[in-house]
């Protein structure tokens, strides 16, 4: 199981990181309620307000006093200082980052002794304020040159980046449109069992194939939702977590590998599908945790677009390279499938919280709180993310 140190450029992942910290509280907003209110033309809250509602729920869930918290991470959509001001937190350590980096940073801060109990707070009013993910004002263009560089040729929107990836992936692997459809069909299967999900109507492969293209080869059902909401997590040092909580969910190991070469011209997506970076991230997390794909009961994949899922199946070792299509058809990732994946419905069907809600689902599956969609006796849940070349592998366990 333990990969050669050559896989990490001769450096070994630090085994001390195994179970260094645990999630002791999760909270979120009612995205179904806010979806309906947004559709009725209301603005139920702003990003800070959603984050703070989630934080109140996470504190309740953790059943701890706010004074226990000595670290704060604000999500990328709200100013760190204002979030800290409103949360009434004056921590001894802080940061601002996206979902998976936040989990990773929290573990690092805990491991290094800068904090013991870290609150991670994210809120996003993207639906009610009409955040643009395509066109001349596309979100993220300041951080990612590829989001804006190709606009003279009309090449814009996040979806286009993934459509271009899927097209060359189909060609390279013989992956079919029908196989792509398996992902959104499976995730709707899960969301139909999740009362928190925004889109709960089951769909068939035929529905998928009949749906219109937004950016061919991506169909409407391959796209994430755009909705308002917030998520908060409370992560504590492992020993402290055991004292504070009767049901801590441990972070067994984290791996990361970035593929920046060819980022702007999209070579890293179109030629390599981020595969080399996913493999190194996976190997590191497996080496730290002593676990492998066969030990995982549930997989959670960052799914702004459905194509993330087959790439993850190959990159993180669930299917042989070139066999994700076969895996989707024969093993299955939906209810009743061999590898339950995105069991909440994910970004496609539950809520688009940019990876944050996936962490909540990891925790709830391991606590056995998922009702009709609960995966029986889940012991290990794997979260993977490959946003803009930053490939992460996070393994949760009880």
């Amino acid at each position: 199981m333990t990969p050669s140190p050559l896989a990490f450029g001769g450096r070994h992942p630090n085994p001390r990181n195994k179970r260094a910290a645990a999630v002791i509280g999760v909270g979120h907003t009612d995205w179904v309620r806010d979806w309906q209110r947004c559709r009725a033309g209301e603005q139920p809250n702003d990003s800070l307000g959603y984050g703070l509602e989630a934080f109140r729920n996470a504190l309740k869930d953790a059943n701890i006093n706010r004074d226990e918290i000595d670290g704060l991470i604000a999500g990328p959509t709200t100013a760190y200082e204002r979030m800290g001001e409103l949360a009434g937190l004056n921590p001894r350590w802080g940061d601002q980052s996206d979902a998976v980096m936040a989990v990773s940073q929290a573990v690092m801060a805990i491991e290094a002794g800068y904090a013991e109990v870290v609150a991670l707070i994210y809120g996003n009013d993207q639906r009610s304020v009409g955040t643009q993910y395509g066109g001349p004002a596309a979100m993220g263009g300041n951080a990612h040159l590829s989001y804006v560089y190709h606009s003279p040729w009309g090449f814009t929107s996040q979806g286009a980046l993934y459509a271009l990836t899927l097209q060359s992936y189909k060609h390279a692997r013989g992956f079919t449109e029908r196989e792509m459809g398996e992902v959104s069909v499976a995730q709707r299967g899960w969301s139909s069992l999740n009362p928190n999900a925004i889109q709960r109507k089951r769909i068939s492969i035929e529905d998928y194939l009949a749906s219109h293209y937004v950016c061919q080869p991506l169909h409407l059902f391959d796209y994430c939702l755009i909705n308002d909401g917030g998520v908060a997590l409370i992560i504590a040092e492992a020993e402290r977590a055991k004292k504070l909580s009767s049901r801590p969910v441990f972070i067994e190991g984290i791996g990361r590998s970035d593929l920046n070469s060819g980022a702007t011209s999209l070579e890293s997506r179109v030629d390599e599908f981020y595969l080399p970076a996913q493999q190194v991230a996976a190997a590191q997390s497996y080496a730290v945790s002593g676990l492998g794909p066969k030990d995982m009961d549930v997989l959670q994949v960052y799914d702004s677009f459905s194509v993330h899922v087959p790439l993850a199946l190959e990159g993180y070792g669930y299917a042989k390279v070139g066999e994700a299509g076969k895996f989707l058809r024969e093993s299955g990732i939906g209810p009743g499938g061999k590898l339950p994946t995105n069991t909440s419905g994910g970004h496609l069907s539950e809520t688009y919280m940019q990876g944050w809600a996936h962490q909540v689902e990891c925790v709830r599956q391991l606590r056995g709180e998922c009702g009709d969609r609960q995966v029986k006796d889940a012991r290990h849940v794997h979260y993977t993310s490959d946003v803009a070349g930053k490939c992460f592998s996070v393994i949760y366990g009880v």
Binding site: G134, G135, P136, L145, V148, Y149, H150, S151, P152, W153, G154, F155, T156, S157, A160, A163, L164, T165, Q167, S168, H171, H212, Y213, V214, C215, Q216, P217, S261, G262, T264, S265, L266, E267, V270, D271
Partner: protein, 136 residues
């Protein structure tokens, strides 16, 4: 539509992008080539990502390439681009990949790998864009 409504989206125009766009306007696209290791850069930048040398030479590209991926937009994002329209990724003979458009026809299944030829297209507002046609 008025002229302002069909404005071609303006390119990102950093310090190192200007010479490239000037060469496009002249109908002879140039990219930077590293004087030390002969790596070609796209998009333009201050130094070679392979050997870190800042000694780069603006050099005309051959105009040859092959198509490596494609999409067709069915949503209206930009006034200059009413759907449906295509975008393609082309691997230049020199090495870099460029996002552009296929001229003359729409891409279709089986086109990946086809040989391409660089052409220069003047947009309705006068902006000149490097685009690609199937070779032959």
């Amino acid at each position: 539509m008025s002229a302002t409504e069909v404005k071609t989206p303006r390119p990102v125009m950093g310090l190192y992008d200007k010479p490239m766009w000037e060469s496009v306007r002249a109908g002879a696209m140039k990219l930077q080539r590293c004087k030390h290791c002969a790596t070609w850069l796209y998009p333009p930048g201050p130094s070679c990502p392979k050997c870190l040398s800042p000694e780069l030479e603006w050099t005309r590209v051959s105009g040859e390439g092959k198509i490596v991926s494609w999409v067709v937009f069915h949503r209206h994002y930009l006034p200059a681009y009413p759907p449906p329209y295509n975008a393609i990724a082309v691997r230049l003979a020199e090495g870099p990949t460029m996002i552009s458009n296929l001229e003359g026809t729409m891409p279709e299944d089986g086109c990946i790998g086809r040989a391409m030829r660089l052409v220069y297209v003047t947009m309705p507002d006068g902006v000149m864009l490097p685009r690609w046609r199937y070779e032959g």
